[in-house]
């Protein structure tokens, strides 16, 4: 059976580009003294690292949206949960260096008159435990949520709405002070990770490279899943779910597996994001964050993996530039971008390139171009 290669040409380009970035960025930062024309300031290293973390989130989203048709508008929740797991570890590392100098309780708990550390903080002083939770918490939520939703055959818009509700509910919960996770201030003032000062230049460069490696591994995992028979069934479920059932497959199993893996990837992305930005707060659960992630994937080209990562970087770079120049214009620009891409580039940057240069066959497994649901089209005409 002619099988799709694990790494196709665009995969090689992607991995090579990623490897190059992971060499060049540290080189420009560490190899040239500040003041040199070639020096890359450390804050930019962290900014690029943030883009790479977003790229991993986009990749996770593309795995479920592009290949399985699950339009999750709540992937930011898994990202934030991974971020919180990492944040809890970083909080415990502060020890008695906090403002209140309490060796056990983080500052916000002292401030809120906590007597003891809540039970769910236990274990987070160990990095290995925290790392496990980065995978386990989003993974478990993804599994339970996915299993319940897919078993009840909730699909399409309804599924999107409940994913949105999920992240919104979590946001409200995390905003509460008695949740024991820092309320609306979230977790911040981190000192060190595995003994390394999180503010140090060397650490910033290391975590940047770690994020690049995680993105490469995430890509390879997603790619392995999607080129296997499993991935073919996933695409079959996306295109004709009931047909797979009459062939004897249980679509809910396939979807739940993809959703769980995707949630774990998003969690890892969040965990890598937090040390680079220095804070995690309930704002990360905001529905708009999840919707932005959907736009990254749409811009890059859903169902292409590489495109999702590219879209995340391109859109976030544009965001950095635009919010610097005209802070108020960004949301309008984002909305306009989404409209333009949907109308003129329905397969996104990479999808369109595949169609153009790879021919019909290369683009065959891409998701069908989005169709405007009849009821929406009618509304559009009426207004």
């Amino acid at each position: 059976m002619a099988r799709t290669r694990l790494i196709d040409p665009k995969g090689w380009i992607f991995l090579a580009a990623l490897a190059a970035i992971c060499v060049i960025v540290p080189l420009l930062n560490l190899g040239f003294p500040p003041g040199s024309a070639l020096h890359l300031p450390t804050y930019l290293v962290s900014l690029f690292g943030k883009y790479l973390a977003f790229a991993l989130l986009a990749l996770a989203l593309d795995l479920v949206w592009g290949f399985c048709g699950i339009l999750s508008l709540g992937h930011g929740a898994f990202f934030a949960l991974g971020g919180y797991a990492m944040g809890m570890y970083l909080m415990r590392q502060i020890g008695s260096r906090g403002v209140y100098g309490n060796p056990i309780l983080p500052d916000f708990m002292v401030f809120l008159n906590y007597k003891d550390l809540p039970w769910y903080w236990l274990g987070f002083d160990h990095f290995a435990f925290a790392a496990l939770m980065v995978l386990a918490v989003p993974g478990l939520l993804g599994f339970v949520f996915g299993w319940l939703a897919f078993r009840s055959r909730v699909t399409g818009v309804y599924l999107s709405i409940i994913t949105q509700a999920l992240t919104y509910a979590l946001m409200l919960a995390f905003f509460r002070n008695d949740m024991g996770l820092g309320g609306n201030n979230g977790l911040t003032d981190f000192k060190d990770l595995l003994g390394f000062n999180v503010q140090a230049q060397g650490f910033r460069v290391s975590i940047f490279v770690a994020t690049g490696v995680a993105l490469a591994i995430g890509y390879l995992i997603a790619r392995f899943m999607t080129v296997s028979a499993y991935g073919k069934i996933l695409i079959a479920v996306r295109d004709a779910e009931s047909r797979t059932r009459f062939l004897g497959y249980r679509p809910e199993h396939f979807k739940t597996l993809a959703f769980t893996i995707s949630a774990m990837m998003a969690g890892v992305a969040g965990a890598l994001y937090v040390p680079q930005v220095g804070i995690i707060n309930p704002g990360e659960f905001a529905p708009t964050n999840s919707i932005e992630a959907v736009i990254w994937v749409a811009v890059g080209g859903r169902g292409t993996l590489v495109g999702a990562a590219l879209g995340a970087v391109v859109v976030n770079y544009a965001k950095t530039v635009l919010t610097g120049v005209m802070p108020d214009a960004w949301l309008f620009a984002l909305g306009a971008l989404f409209v333009v891409v949907t109308l003129f580039l329905p397969r996104g940057i990479v999808g369109t390139a595949m169609e153009k240069f790879g021919g019909r066959r290369a683009a065959a497994t891409l998701p069908p171009e989005p169709e405007i649901p009849p009821q929406l089209a009618e509304e559009g005409q009426g207004s």
Binding site: M1, D239, G248
Partner: protein
């Protein structure tokens, strides 16, 4: 029904069936009794009973709304009847199982509108249908990743799509999609194939080829064909059941059924 005398395994399973029913189920591969389905007050099936032997081919005819597709929906688990009995192989109560479980028992279905996986190549469509483990994890690492091209090509040869094996299924003509779906049924290797309007939209030559194909398949599979094209039904050369208003109106050879005045009245005549 020569096998009607042997006691069915049904009794061992403890299924509660009347003595009369017990007799009927014995040899039948598919046994439907008194199926009733109501959609929003509309009675789609009003006590449909049907029995199909192993390796038997059966054509189902009848006017629109006679309940042909609803019957297939009941057999494949898509629709739950309000009352009635549906047994497969004498032992399996189809009304307690869902679609994948029923497919797993060995019932394959071709839809009225050809439903193939359009993004996949013709060969991959067959690959996904091939009999074998259906579990998620198995598909990540397992057997289906190592299927040899020969076993797929064998099926594609039967349905005449070998030259198209690497084309996306979306590019096939309507008739070719119908054949691909029949090929997928073959790959599933079910004991019973339910084929809904296989020649709709086909040319005469394609229709003829399809009749030959189905007759070949029927040599070692039970096949139920729903079709309106009477010439095609005649070419199948099998028993015919005429449905009308959700129940069986007439059953027998094509000649006796098409001569039945009630069939002429509701379906053929006018």
């Amino acid at each position: 029904m020569s096998m009607a005398e042997t006691l069915p395994p049904v009794t061992q399973q403890g299924l509660e069936l009347g003595p009369a029913n017990r007799k009927k189920t014995t040899g039948a591969l598919l046994y439907l009794d008194d199926l009733k389905v109501t959609f929003d007050g509309y009675r789609a099936l009003r006590g449909l009973s049907l029995s199909l032997d192993r390796n038997e081919m059966r054509a189902i005819i009848g006017p629109n709304g006679a309940g042909k597709t609803t019957m297939m929906d009941c057999v494949t688990g898509k629709t739950r009847p309000d009352t009635g009995t549906a047994l497969f192989d004498g032992t399996h109560d189809l009304l307690k199982l869902d679609e994948p479980a029923i497919a797993d028992l060995g019932i394959g279905r071709k839809f009225q509108k050809p439903t193939v996986f359009e993004s996949h190549t013709v060969a991959d469509n067959i690959l996904l249908a091939l009999k074998g483990p259906r579990a998620g994890v198995a598909s990540l690492f397992g057997w289906r990743n190592r299927v040899e091209a020969e076993s797929i090509d064998e099926i594609l040869t039967v349905v005449g799509l070998l030259p198209h094996r690497m084309r996306p299924a979306a590019d096939l003509s309507h008739g070719q999609k119908q054949w691909l779906e029949i090929g997928m049924l073959l790959a599933q290797d079910p004991k019973l194939l339910l084929v809904d309007e296989p020649v709709a939209g086909m040319t005469d030559a394609e229709t003829e080829a399809t009749a030959i194909l189905l007759r070949t398949i029927a040599k070692d599979h039970a096949v139920v064909v729903v079709e309106h094209d009477m010439a095609f039904v005649r070419a199948l050369g099998c028993r015919v059941t005429c449905l009308h208003e959700g129940a069986v109106l007439a059953e027998g050879s094509i000649d006796s059924v098409s001569a039945d005045p009630r069939v002429v009245e509701v379906y053929l005549g006018r």
